[in-house]
Subunit: 237 residues, 2 copies
Amino acid sequence: MRSVGKSRAAAPDSEGTALVSPWPARKTTRRNRDIKREAVVRAAARAFNARGYHNTSIDEIAAALNVSKPTIYYYVANKEQLLLECILAGLERVLEPFRRPREAGVTARGHLNEMMRHYAEAIASEYGWCMVRAEDLGLAPSSLLHIKRLKSEIDQGIRRLLEEGVRDGSIRTEDLKMTSFALAGALNWIAHWYRENQSMTPREIADAFIRIFNLGLAPRPAAKPSGRAPARKEPIT
Amino acid sequence: MRSVGKSRAAAPDSEGTALVSPWPARKTTRRNRDIKREAVVRAAARAFNARGYHNTSIDEIAAALNVSKPTIYYYVANKEQLLLECILAGLERVLEPFRRPREAGVTARGHLNEMMRHYAEAIASEYGWCMVRAEDLGLAPSSLLHIKRLKSEIDQGIRRLLEEGVRDGSIRTEDLKMTSFALAGALNWIAHWYRENQSMTPREIADAFIRIFNLGLAPRPAAKPSGRAPARKEPIT
């Protein structure tokens, strides 16, 4: 540093002097903007849950946040974009476990269980309502295509985990597609019966589902003294 | 018979003569009416599937049946009643196995499997679309209450079967409510992915789901020579 005593609010100079701007740092602005944008999307999701998408106006969302309508339009172009953002926020949460590498020592079934917990949390959140109604709310074809791609990514992610589980011995299944559909169906349907005042947390629901799907409803036969492995394919009646 | 040669279309007399009326028998009329009414409800269901409930007019349903609009109004009062009838037709089909006594020698799990086949057939039928959207289509509170009662009857029926299965040894489950919700969720979601051109029949889907739910995804351990029964509660990770 060659000089001291300069105004600390002066324009940046080439001398490396630490300047303090009365405006927040760009990073802080971006973070604040993200926080506010998320609050807008979350408020929209809650309003859609309460009154339905078509019966909700931008005015009501603004009122819930105690801001003006133009403030909402600063973050999103229109109500349809808000709906899309709600759906994407939920789907991205489900996808998160598929997008990171599996931890060392965790079987495919362990990873699948973790995915089910994320899925249950997303679908029981305020985003669940619109996630399961995505196809029925009149979104533009390009938005529907985007959603369809993410849903397909989830389905493919589940099937891949099932396949890996069959290979590493942690999962038994004969039908990857039907198993993926049964899992996703049970999880998606949570959005239809779960309300915030439910007695169980999303984590508890996920753990109950994990237990049901892993152990199955057929009693496991007691081990036989002969040591012969039981037949893998049980007749269905 | 005391007389012959009388007009066979004469008014009924007290002599036991078999009369043939040019009008169809009341029973036949009732049956024809039921068949036509069902065709109207089915056509409505298909139109709702194709274009959505709010975008479908009574005119379009009439056109699909090649009849006039007043013909439709002869069977139902309005479009809302048509929607309600579609939903009820589906729900009644699911409920059917709960309303008849179980056949001798069939376990509760056998009965539950049978119920799942009915459920899959109902939800993959043209009624499935509106069955899973019942709450979102703006039905009158009295209609919603009717639907809610039938859905609750289905849920209670599943839980009762699970309970009976635990007693007769054909089912293992620790959580009747979550098991009922997982089963119904997987089955309901069929309406979102099934299309008539799917490669599997509803029966095949039901059987795949029965297998998944009965056997579970965790490999069953090979029987141990010690003859000790395996622990019933497996840790979930």
